[in-house]
Symmetry: C2
Subunit: 189 residues, 2 copies
Amino acid sequence: MRRIALVSVAVTAVAGVAAYMGSASGQSNGDAAPIYGIKIPEGYRDWRLISVKQLTGKQLTGAGGELKQLRAQLGNDLAIKAFRDGTLPFPDGAIIAALHWNEASSDFDNQALAAGFPGLGLQSSFAGSAVNVQFMVKDSKKYAASGGWGFADFTNGKPGNEALHAKCFSCHQPAKDRDYVFTHYAPTP
Amino acid sequence: MRRIALVSVAVTAVAGVAAYMGSASGQSNGDAAPIYGIKIPEGYRDWRLISVKQLTGKQLTGAGGELKQLRAQLGNDLAIKAFRDGTLPFPDGAIIAALHWNEASSDFDNQALAAGFPGLGLQSSFAGSAVNVQFMVKDSKKYAASGGWGFADFTNGKPGNEALHAKCFSCHQPAKDRDYVFTHYAPTP
């Protein structure tokens, strides 16, 4: 589950960023992710939107259960500016956060859709329980061995293990021409 | 299509908000939506994230085509604070924006997923072309006849017609106990 959650993601807090507990805008227990030494950046939940995604498939754990997640990618100011300007590679200091939720639905919402738009079979789903959050932190010197990016993955504020983090960079290799970032900036409607 | 796009939404810009063209953070041609007199609020693309959704169903127009959208709800500062604090009704001045995109996928992304996580059948989709943006604007006096909310829907910066906007409030009636807002605040992972 954690490994899957790492897939499509993004950046993290530079180690040393002040951590705090229980804020609505981002939380951390202060533990740094292995390999890259990255902590959860304070207030990341307040960052601006890059794009949204859905991920479906089979769960890594559990007896064949289905995985269905809704995801949002947020960026700090440097990351947002780089996406909008089309700047590659991303500048040092850019951080991308990927927030992953279990996809949920409600009869209440779907009944309202059926009443408002009969015959269309509309179904809505939304971000349910939190799964994990991942970060990509750009530091071309510190993380020179991994394309200039540090990676981190947290579940309930706790970083994943070293085996998990050892996989991040190799999975992002196919996006080398986009500075290892899969996510595109969603157009402004 | 426009009618469907209105479904799950949220608030808008108070009429009179300065409009501008072509910014990466929100654009407007200055036209106000009918009935409620709402313009696109400047810079709404910079607002903070409330939640994300998916909407599937049949297209309203076209020969039986499938509708598949990814959506994000953003809020201005008053709206975000109200969501986090659980404040109901929402305070005057709160604005919720709903950004709707056609759901897209790429072989590139899915091949990277297959290589990184073989055997799991992972499939990713993301926000593709923009469909429309909708707003709910709270003004308990001005919009007293519609639960204190004004509604607006824009496609390519142009407001939808009066028939479209006449439907907004009735579709939101089922959510009366939540101040006519279907969207819940997504938890911070």
